[in-house]
Symmetry: C2
Subunit: 550 residues, 2 copies
């Protein structure tokens, strides 16, 4: 089995440089005949400021797609969107088996059904702590703690050594739902010798410890217990332990619980079906809750990130059909602000304040803990696993750089920060970047997958900034002007439009058909229009000129 | 003088609902003949996500512009852009005298010169602690502390009572530059009786005290003293006390100081000319600094908010002509993150990390204090001034609501939150909203002022989201198709373009000129194009159809 030319490589195509879009490929074999497994296949969410009109961003996996027959499996660590969200979009390029533990499998299967792929691929369920043999890789699932049911690290064994890929994790001594971190297993792996730890960097800039769900449960119970009026609590729907905490706090305070928003319903259903919610209090319908006295109702609502179509945004705008809030009522944001969402969330706070609702957040109350490891937890993980090589992933460069510094300070012999598309040889020999492969981002634009560098995206940003001038010139077959030019002036102030019209007319009139150079005409009109806009407006719209021949 | 019908009113046209764009008008007299003074005239900065292509946002002051002859003065509290930035853009609508203390006057005059207005209006200098008589208003400048030279509160006296308008403030026992808070004056005003306190709400959500510049000075000296390699520090250029702290820390560590970036140069020059920098260490040219050994240089650079054209962004991109940073060098962000700038600033951190530079921020080191009052400071101000009415301004609703709650908890008899355009009668009688006047936002779009509701702004956002289809149909005078349609397809993926072309051709071919209804043709083509895009792409581009007649 063991061959001299065998190499073990790590190739991140997503997640090394951003929090989100996680996609890590492990390759094994001689350079000319590697076999691959993929760990996680997630999305990043688009933002209007950077990528107008783009909802989802995912990794460019063309390098693996070209050798899809050697991609043996997609192995999923847990069910967050930044780890599974790209499966329905990218699986068709790989067409390999997908492995996941039951809760994750249920959610991925739901996505495959929605995408019409359910008859093409069946997600293979792995039990917690389960084992897989996939070609040259032996993969063990190791239970850890995070902020969703069934988070797993993976121990990926080859004859060249073992990689521990942490997935997303924290050390929660009381996660309230599911197992605690399998520290015995991690320590044993360390005892046996770990080649590399490929590890979550999200909170590498934070000192201390992330805290436990159990302490949030206590705090929420205390807080909800003393609120009057209606209470709505928004949290990440996937944090099922948190939902249980909130529901229990509600019941203890004599309140009925209603779930509001599709993601909330879906996640609770998935957790119930996989056996995680045996002690979840009964829930009532949101319309039923509206009939209760205010102090008897608690709403668990989606939309903690200010998503404009989510339940909480509709409640704040006063146009939710069943949930109305006003003076005396409270909304608890049991969540953090994902960077980039600040203004949207603050706008939501402001709308709620305008209704007279009191807004309670993690800034003023202890209502949230992070699901990712702070520095003390990272240090603990390194003490358990004792790897030869530290490879920070799941972070921007600023997180990965600090994580690498921390690993070095803990005397890990090698700490390497790599970017998407850099192929890192983990063994044999010292860790080394041996190749760079095509990598980048693919956008889901409407229903179409497009490359991030596609011209039309740039055009949209340019039009968003400075509008568009499009001119149709009408020429006959002899090249003579045969009608008035048609102008489209979009996204341009009225006062500027007139200046552009005048410039186009004048440039058209100056045209001498005898010279017959309609390319020069087009260019002259284009320049005249653009110059007029610049003079009147100090901006350069996207400018196009075409000829209609009659 | 005193008339029975006299009223004292406050009319915020900006700043009641946002941090920025401060513009408060105080009116006095009978309702049919009010005279006004304006306190501050600031801008808000546009953001690509919300307002693509808009750099500056300012208040819609049409209500005052229509009675400009009764607007007696613009009185400026201090020189931050959100208090003075709209002066050159809005003054032409009011054409009244402008009053400011010397440092503020210098900066405003610079703006008026750039705008070509310097010969039309001369800023009238008021000494610190000075007094103005403006029609029915007697205005006293009261020295306070903030994060810029010469911050002032105003005591605005009328026979119906005194308003204390705080401007931006904190309580800094050691501001390092300029006077400490004139607590005697504030207490005396309280003793004499204050009708209303119109007060900064920025940090009303923060418990405790904002801290002092003096402690930041110590911390920066300690930090800069132990750094090796080149050091760049970025801070708000207007925080001149901070610049002095950094320069002194540099000199103490044996480093020469170079100022990098136009705003830094400009602000230091203004402070020097108004006598605030007598003890500022000598500065050297940035090209000269490049010749020094790394541990002998410190750069004070603009761009702490990630502004793409500022010095620090250029340094991080490696294309600054004179400042190069690399492994072993450090950048200190001696500033906070203004909400909404997170992603831009983090992108800057990431670029610096990619160069091997260490990034130090207020998250990991004590390198910044806020210039606005936390709750303990607000409480202190209420104890000094003891107003009858609290009017929170300079905040979003969430800040103003909390500020009002705090004021009530301090037993202020009346606390009123108002929005831009709401006219609040302060006296006689209880505080009451007596009118709503037109208010809103004006955008500086390129060089043109436009209303926030202008169609072209919406068009730009729509094109940014889903692109544009523009079709020119060519018809002869009998209404027959006389040439191929011309299509402009902008911001649309390639695969979708083809579908739109086919649909437009087919809709054009179906046209029967005998019926001669070219409006129906236009509408049919428009619908066909839009439907084709929706089917192929799941998005609806902006769609325009025009006819070229030949």
């Amino acid at each position: 089995m063991a061959k001299r030319e065998d190499e073990l490589v790590l190739l991140p195509l997503g997640g090394a440089g951003e929090i989100g879009m996680n996609f890590n490929a492990y390759g094994f074999g001689p350079a000319h005949a590697r076999q691959w497994i993929v760990v996680d296949c997630g999305v990043l969410f688009g933002r209007e400021g950077d990528t107008p009109g783009i909802d989802l961003i995912m990794p460019d996996i063309r390098f693996l797609a070209e050798q899809a027959e050697d991609v043996l499996a997609i192995v999923l660590t847990h069910a967050h969107e930044d780890h599974i969200g790209a499966v329905p979009h990218l699986w068709p390029q790989l067409r390999c088996p997908i492995y996941a533990t039951p809760f994750t499998a249920k959610l991925v299967t739901g996505k495959l059904i929605e995408a019409g792929l359910a008859d093409k691929v069946k997600v293979r369920e792995v039990p917690l702590g389960g084992h897989l043999d996939i070609g040259p890789f032996a993969v063990d699932y190791v239970s850890i703690t995070h902020s969703i049911p069934e988070p797993n690290a993976l121990a990926i064994k080859t004859w060249l050594g073992t990689v521990v890929h942490t997935g997303d994790w924290k050390i929660d001594p009381e996660p309230l739902l599911g197992d605690v971190t399998d520290t015995n297993r991690l320590t044993r792996l360390g005892d046996e010798g770990v080649l590399a730890l490929v590890c979550d960097s999200t909170n590498a800039l934070h000192e201390g410890h992330s805290g436990s769900e159990a302490t949030v449960r206590e705090s929420l119970a205390e807080l909800i217990g003393r609120l009057k009026g209606r209470v709505a609590v928004t949290a990440f729907a996937s944090n099922v332990a948190r939902l249980v905490s909130i529901a229990k706090a509600a019941r203890a305070a004599g309140r009925e619980v209603a779930l509001v928003g599709r993601a909330m319903q879906k996640m609770v259903a998935a957790a119930r079906e996989t056996g995680y919610l045996d002690d979840f209090p009964r829930v009532i319908d949101e319309a039923e809750a509206a009939l209760l006295p205010p102090h008897r109702a608690l709403y668990l609502v989606t939309g903690s990130q200010g998503e404009p179509r989510a339940a909480l945004a509709r409640i704040a705008s006063g146009d939710h059909p069943n949930v109305k809030l006003g003076p005396g009522d409270s909304v608890i944001f049991s969540s953090r602000i994902i960077p980039g969402n600040e203004l949207g969330i603050f706008a939501l706070h402001n709308k709620l304040c305008a209704l007279g609702v009191e807004v309670l957040t993690e800034q003023d109350h202890f209502v949230h803990v992070s699901g990712h490891p702070y520095k003390d937890e990272l240090a603990q993980m390194y003490r358990w696993v004792r790897p030869k090589i530290a490879v920070p992933v799941h972070g921007e460069l600023r997180h990965m750089a600090e994580h690498a510094r921390l690993a070095r300070s803990l005397q890990v012999p090698e700490a390497v920060t790599i970017e998407n598309g850099q192929m890192l040889r983990l063994a044999p020999g010292p860790a080394e970047i041996i190749d760079e492969v095509p990598a980048g981002r693919i956008y889901l634009d409407g229903s179409v997958l497009v490359d991030e560098s596609a011209d039309h995206g740039r055009e949209r940003r340019a039009m968003g900034f400075a509008g568009l001038i499009a001119v149709t010139l009408v020429l006959d077959q002899r090249g003579r002007v045969a009608g008035e030019p048609v102008l489209f002036l979009e996204g341009i102030p009225d006062s500027v439009r007139e200046a552009v019209r005048v410039a186009v007319d004048s440039a058209t009139r100056r045209y001498n058909p005898k010279k017959g150079d309609e390319e020069a005409l087009r260019e002259n009109v284009r320049r005249a229009a653009r110059r007029a806009a610049l003079e009147a407006w100090d901006k350069k719209p996207v400018t196009r000129v075409e000829i209609a021949w009659v």
